[in-house]
Symmetry: C2
DNA sequence: GCTCAAAAGCTAATGCCATTAGCCTCGGTT
DNA sequence: AACCGAGGCTAATGGCATTAGCTTTTGAGC
């Protein structure tokens, strides 16, 4: 019966992500989201508790997007092939959404709202390392090292931190190889 | 003749760094700096062009601090000893000033004001790798890999991104060893 | 010591943004 | 047919950056 299209939290977050893609995280403002969704700023509070909470929702979405993509990427692969695919998928995501990556929470596990999403992302990495026969804490360390590599590179690249873009593919390949070699040595 | 202590750009940046150490980068506000230096907000414009420029100065200071410390750290060392010392000094700096580290510009080379400071920091890393016999672009790649490792870890640790602080020293030692092994393989 | 110009500070005003309070309206429920 | 709650709106508040224009101080030169 043709209900007038109404705003929902999901649509608000959609608009927020568009804004971030276009203008970066600093561009995420309730006023801008309101303008984009065709609503007065205070109306957003019916869907979101505050700007801080909206940022939280955005963080969850980014984590979920990444988890989804990496899960599909790694499905059916194992060992070095899986790790390689995961690392390349990580970089590909960040290149596709450089601004959005900056909205990924660094500490999802310390936020009620983001905890579940953060855990799932880590678990994808952990699962990808299954098969290397890593015992308990060794698996944790290996996952951490992996995170350090992919996040370190992604963070610098998306921030324009490498002077010249020249040879970045090579640098990344070397990082992948370094990690795989390292895994072999630990096993 | 006892000149009444006047504000200078340097003192403004000092206050900005204190503020950042206490409240994080979001806490850096001209109003807060003014309060801390005992001056009305608009007066700051006599020493700094804008909040953005102040952030730029802060970034330079952080880069310079790091460069100084790392330079002293690796002086007189070479090879694995030097790399190890540099990596540990990097982490130590970030642990000492976790909030401040977030004020380090990711792309100093693209900012007129920060370019020189950024270059010097990179050069310390590059120089530390001297002696591994890396030819031209191999040295660039090796420096990039080093940056990825130290920044990746520092960024996650200072952001509270590792679920538990447990075993972080071990994780870092493993990263150091991984990098040294990698360097050996490349040489 | 005196004058004066520039440096460094101040107040007032503007505009943007987040947030809160309180009102209005529609659509579905009873 | 009356009602009620969700979702929107306007108005108001307070923080912050920034600009304009005025005042005071200081130090240089006489």
């Amino acid at each position: 019966m043709a209900v007038r299209p109404r705003l929902t939290t999901v649509k608000v977050v959609d608009a927020a992500l568009e804004l971030i893609d276009e203008q970066g995280v600093e561009g995420l403002t309730l006023a801008a989201v309101a303008a984009r969704t065709g609503v007065a700023t205070p109306s957003l509070y019916k869907h979101v508790a505050s700007l801080a909470e909206l940022r939280g929702h955005v963080g969850v979405r980014v984590l979920e997007e990444m988890t989804d993509r990496f899960t599909h990427t790694v499905l059916g692969l194992a060992g070095d092939k899986a790790v390689e695919a995961l690392m390349h998928a990580y970089r590909a995501y960040v290149r596709q959404h450089p601004k959005r990556y900056a909205a990924m929470p660094m500490d999802p596990l310390h936020d009620e709202l983001q905890q579940a999403a953060g855990m799932k992302l880590i678990e994808v990495m952990l699962a990808t390392l299954r098969g290397y026969g890593l015992e308990g804490s060794a698996a944790v360390h290996a996952t951490r090292r992996l995170r350090v590599l992919v996040h370190g590179f992604a963070s610098i690249e998306s921030g324009g931190g490498f002077g010249l873009p020249e040879g970045l593919d090579d640098t990344y390949d070397q990082l992948v190889r370094m990690y795989l070699t390292d895994l072999r040595g630990q096993s």
